[in-house]
């Protein structure tokens, strides 16, 4: 036989894969290209310009929504990562105890329910609380985001913990380290890549959220995604493309770092 028979090959699969990659990236690339359009259409090309980036930058609504997004996502990411780290420490490296299965199920519960249902539930619940307390600040969004970020932060931290045995902590205890000292000097440094991965995952998930934010927000509390959703009803200019492009860049940056952190973990 002339050529070697490749047992892995399946006819047409490579072609379909290429079509998929092309189809996945064509719309995104188009979106980014038209962000640089000099004209005010998202379909007719009129030369390169940065005017839509300037316009977005000078649009107070966009700037306010961006700041609000960053505030909510930072708080949600940090808080959810802290409580998820604690929960991960409490649910790994132990023999099964009563309630362990319940904890797993409970922590992952936000992943099982469709977002729209959680959104509706929070709308109902928070509208009651708003009436009772009179408070209608960003706190509601922060709590809501924290809750649905917990399972995402929990996953990589738990995965990391499960690959660490207790030998080093036991050694630390033998050397008279207090539990807190053992955690700070031994567990935490080893766990750090997992915590960082969880933090970034939670941040991206929170930053991307549309549905829950759309239902929970009070008037004038648009985040960047809900602001953009609101704009689709109107005449769309490349300003939306410009905002999307910046948003995309931030996401890609975080995902890239995350990807390499979790890859490294696999190779260890």
């Amino acid at each position: 036989m002339a050529s070697r028979f490749d047992i892995r090959r399946q006819t047409g699969f490579a072609t379909i894969a290429m079509i998929c990659f092309f189809a996945l990236y064509l719309p995104i690339v188009t979106l980014v290209v038209y962000a640089f359009n000099a004209g005010s259409s998202i379909a007719i090309w009129e030369g390169v310009s940065l005017r839509w980036f300037y316009q977005a930058w000078n649009n107070n609504q966009v700037v306010d929504a961006s700041i609000r997004s960053l505030q909510i996502s930072s708080v949600a990411a940090v808080v959810s990562t802290i409580v998820a780290t604690m929960a991960a420490l409490a649910t790994t490296r132990t023999k099964p105890y009563p309630g362990l299965g319940f904890k797993y199920a409970f922590i992952n519960q936000p992943l099982m329910v469709p977002e729209i249902v959680t959104a509706v539930a929070l709308l109902i619940f928070f509208s009651r609380i708003k009436i009772w307390t009179g408070y209608s600040g960003l706190g509601y969004l922060m709590v809501a985001h924290t809750a649905f970020c917990i399972p995402f932060a929990y996953l990589p931290i738990r995965a990391r913990l499960e690959n660490m045995d207790l030998t080093l902590e036991v050694a630390a205890a033998d050397l008279y380290a207090t539990p807190w000292k053992a955690f700070r000097r031994v567990t935490f440094p080893l766990l750090w890549p997992g915590i960082l991965a969880g933090l970034m995952l939670a941040f991206v998930i929170s930053l991307d959220d549309v549905v829950i934010t759309e239902f929970v927000k009070s008037g004038g509390q648009d985040t960047l995604p809900t602001y953009m959703l609101g704009q689709f009803r109107r005449f769309i200019t490349p300003e939306i493309n410009a905002i999307s492009t910046v948003f995309l860049l931030i996401s890609i940056l975080i995902v890239t770092v995350f990807f390499f952190i979790s890859r490294k973990k696999d190779q260890e």
Binding site: Q10, G12, V117
Partner: protein
């Protein structure tokens, strides 16, 4: 004096209590802002709608009744709520088709990645990971720019002289299906890849040694081996597709609503919170059934493969 056994028991109890305390903040936040409110939705579905939204605290089953039935405003007779049923049907149909299409495109893609040399694999995987974590809204917007009347597809087809008028794709079920297949494709590829990565190709070789052709090897060896990945990917696509809100809102407009939009409508212009609550619980019930199916099939897989 306590026996050694009792001391050990006490230490264990103390440790378990410590572990509960350590996980308490996470559990409380989720109870407060995820699980707890779901129970309130159940209560709300049995109340009477208030005049300006919200509810009146009076028991009523009208919310549930109007999920499938509607009362005629003139003679008070009951009839099937065609509008709701057609939206249920559209949601089920589109989610099912989306799952099938993502599987048809995702399977070869995942297989392609899994059979690359180790070095290249990371690059291809990374290319799937980026859209996976990119904002769904931005991806929906991106696909919208491609299929709209003045979008790339229509422009190219007109320039090539294949069509003279742009094809109206936006605000149709077709747009919804293309859009959902596009946004959920990475959700299918990643779990498929995870199970394909583990394929033992000696089994494939054995298949060829036994005179199977490529298609028989695919059907009889590869597909059974990656079945857990197929089930996981299908669940991962079907569930968010069924509850989709953003994609149908942007691509479907007001005429091509899905369940998610119907639910939102009840909390907005519809001002029928009990109906919205009942619809939400119905959606959740369907999702639970799908998850149960998944757990059972995953359990079966675990049983047969040891």
């Amino acid at each position: 004096m306590a026996s050694a056994e009792e001391v050990a028991k006490q230490a264990e109890r103390r440790e378990i209590r410590g572990r509960w305390l350590l996980s308490a903040p996470a559990l409380i936040i989720i109870l407060l802002a995820a699980t707890g409110p779901l129970l309130i939705v159940v209560i709300y579905s049995f109340l009477t709608p208030g005049p300006y939204g919200d509810v009146v605290w009076k028991f009523s089953t009208d919310g549930w009744l109007s999920v499938v039935m509607q009362r005629d405003i003139f003679d008070d007779t009951l009839a099937f709520a065609d509008a709701h049923l057609s939206i249920f049907w559209r949601s089920a149909k589109l989610s099912f088709l989306t799952t099938i299409f993502t599987l048809l495109f995702g399977f070869p893609t995942a297989y392609f990645i899994a059979t690359r040399p180790a070095r290249q694999r990371d690059i291809w995987l990374f290319l799937i990971t980026i859209p996976f974590w990119t904002n769904l809204l931005i991806r929906t917007f991106a696909i919208q720019e491609v299929i709209r009347n003045e979008g790339i597809v229509n422009t190219v087809l007109i320039k090539l002289g294949i069509i003279s008028q742009p094809i109206q794709m936006m605000f149709t079920d077709f747009a919804l299906m293309v859009g959902m297949t596009y946004v959920y494709l990475p959700l299918m590829v990643l779990p498929l890849y995870a199970s394909m990565e583990k394929i033992d190709f000696r089994l494939v070789e054995a298949g060829y040694d036994l005179y199977a052709n490529r298609f028989q090897v695919l059907r009889r060896v590869i597909i059974p081996l990656v079945k857990p990945g197929i089930v996981a990917g299908s669940i991962l696509v079907f569930i968010p597709a069924l509850g989709a809100y953003v994609t149908p809102r942007v691509l479907g407009g007001t005429k091509n609503m899905m369940l998610g939009n119907l639910i939102e409508l009840q909390f907005g212009q519809g001002r029928n919170w009990p109906l919205g609550s009942a619809l939400s619980i119905s959606l959740m019930a369907i999702v639970m059934v799908a998850l149960l199916f998944y757990v059972r099939s995953a359990g079966r897989q675990g049983g047969t493969h040891g």
